[in-house]
């Protein structure tokens, strides 16, 4: 079933303890953001809980406003509308995400590519200046920005004095402080969830690849007008890729690397303190 199952890390706590944190101790809120459902969990507090949740949602909305290609005023949408040779000033969010994307692009020999094959070297970030080098380049930060948004929300919560909790943007999850979160994998094909692991002070992300649908990630060098589907392990209807990493930005981005390479033991993972799981399962009867 599993192509190459990675070993679980050493267990730091007995299983029973992993699930002892009661719902009653946590205040949970959720809003539709980033094209998915974003959940925030913070310690119950009459005075702070709702304010903390609002702070986390605001941090995520701020990232969305800068980086969503679907928002015409976003930096990514404005960059995509530029002519070759033009440049725009970008803020801290775009700088952080694009720097990370470029690093991963280099280290993965082009496998990770936020231009989705349109022109992998068609953009250059120089400080806060983002320059368009190729008329063909179109950036999409879908594969990395959600994780960054989660990290920003966690940072905002900590700065506001919230010592523990979690933020989950449709499966891009990060817990911090003493919040140990039970992670359940959503069965994308048949519905329902499966218990998988528990997470303490770290991030966890999952990507899904379905043989019947066209993958949004193009292979490097593919024609941008018709992005090629990602390589799919044979005989599998669908593949879940999960990555745990200290930061959600890397957990999010590295799921794409693992999915595209099909390698849950990809050598780059260790450099990010990450580990991956590849779960292949057959199609559900309809």
């Amino acid at each position: 079933m599993n192509a190459r199952p990675a070993a679980f890390p050493a267990l730091a706590a007995p299983a029973a303890e992993a699930h002892r944190a009661p719902d009653a101790g946590w205040h949970r809120r959720a809003r539709p953001l980033l094209g998915t459902l974003v959940e925030v969990g913070v310690p119950c507090s009459d005075t702070h809980a709702n304010r903390w949740a609002d702070i986390a949602f605001e941090a995520i909305a701020a990232v969305q406003a800068c980086l969503s290609r679907f928002e015409p005023a976003s930096e990514v949408a404005r960059f995509n509308a530029l002519a070759a040779g033009e440049e725009i000033e970008v803020g801290a969010h775009a700088q952080a995400v694009l720097s990370a994307a470029r690093r991963l692009q280099h280290e993965s020999a082009g496998l990770f590519d936020v231009s989705l094959g349109s022109a992998p070297d068609g953009w250059r970030l120089d400080g806060s200046r983002l320059r368009k080098l190729s008329p063909a380049v179109r950036l999409s930060l879908d594969g990395i920005a959600k994780g960054h948004a989660v990290d920003c929300a966690v940072q905002a919560l900590r700065q506001a004095g919230c010592e523990s909790g979690w933020v989950n943007a449709g499966g891009d999850l990060r817990s911090f402080g003493s919040a140990r979160v039970a992670v359940q994998l959503r069965d994308e094909a048949g519905g329902g969830v499966r218990a998988f692991a528990s997470l303490l002070d770290g991030a966890f992300a999952t990507s899904h690849y379905d043989a019947r649908s066209r993958c949004r990630l193009a292979e490097p060098g593919a024609d941008p007008a018709s992005p090629a589907p990602a390589p799919m392990p044979r005989a599998h209807a669908a593949v879940h890729v999960s990555v745990a990493a200290p930061l959600c930005l890397w957990a999010d981005a590295l799921t794409k690397l693992v999915a595209l390479s099909g390698d849950a033991m990809h050598p780059l993972l260790a450099g990010f303190g990450a580990q991956a799981w590849l779960h292949a399962f057959p199609a559900h009867p309809q």
Partner: protein, 188 residues
Amino acid sequence: MQVGPAIGAGIAGVAVVSVALAPTSAFAVDYLSVDQASKLIFPDAERFERREIVLDEAQMRELAGRGVRARSQRWGVLEAQKAGATLGFVVIDEVVGKFELITYAVGIGPDGAIRQIEILSYRESHGYEIRLPAWRRQFVGKTAAAPLKLGEDIANISGATLSCDHVTEGVRRIVAVVDLARRSGALS
């Protein structure tokens, strides 16, 4: 960072391999009650008055002309009031995805602009369950959802295609319905 085993999954190595074979279960979270959400969206409100919008055929056609499928002619609205003035409206709605049922609240200001959107509850279940009307009926009323609660654990789903497209579409419909009602004088 610590990643530990899932409860009852035995030794860690087995948990990894057995992911695809483990039985699936339902997942449900209640975030806010209607009351809590209304007060969160309009904290200054002294009271919330129940109102009903009834769209006539011409209004249904007008909505359809704007590309909005009204779905129903009757819409319940909570009007947030303070000292006799209208602070805005709260509309509660639910949408069904492939395997999920999401109940949410939309707060709309007196100017018709969205004030806030809050998810009230999330239900994730198996495909065969969501196709059965009985599965949905059990969520009518607050206590009926209890059988689906996952004990006292804090649990989170990880998946890749969890989309809020249905919520976005629902919000758009609610904004259009409230806008139409305000302009026709039904909410004034």
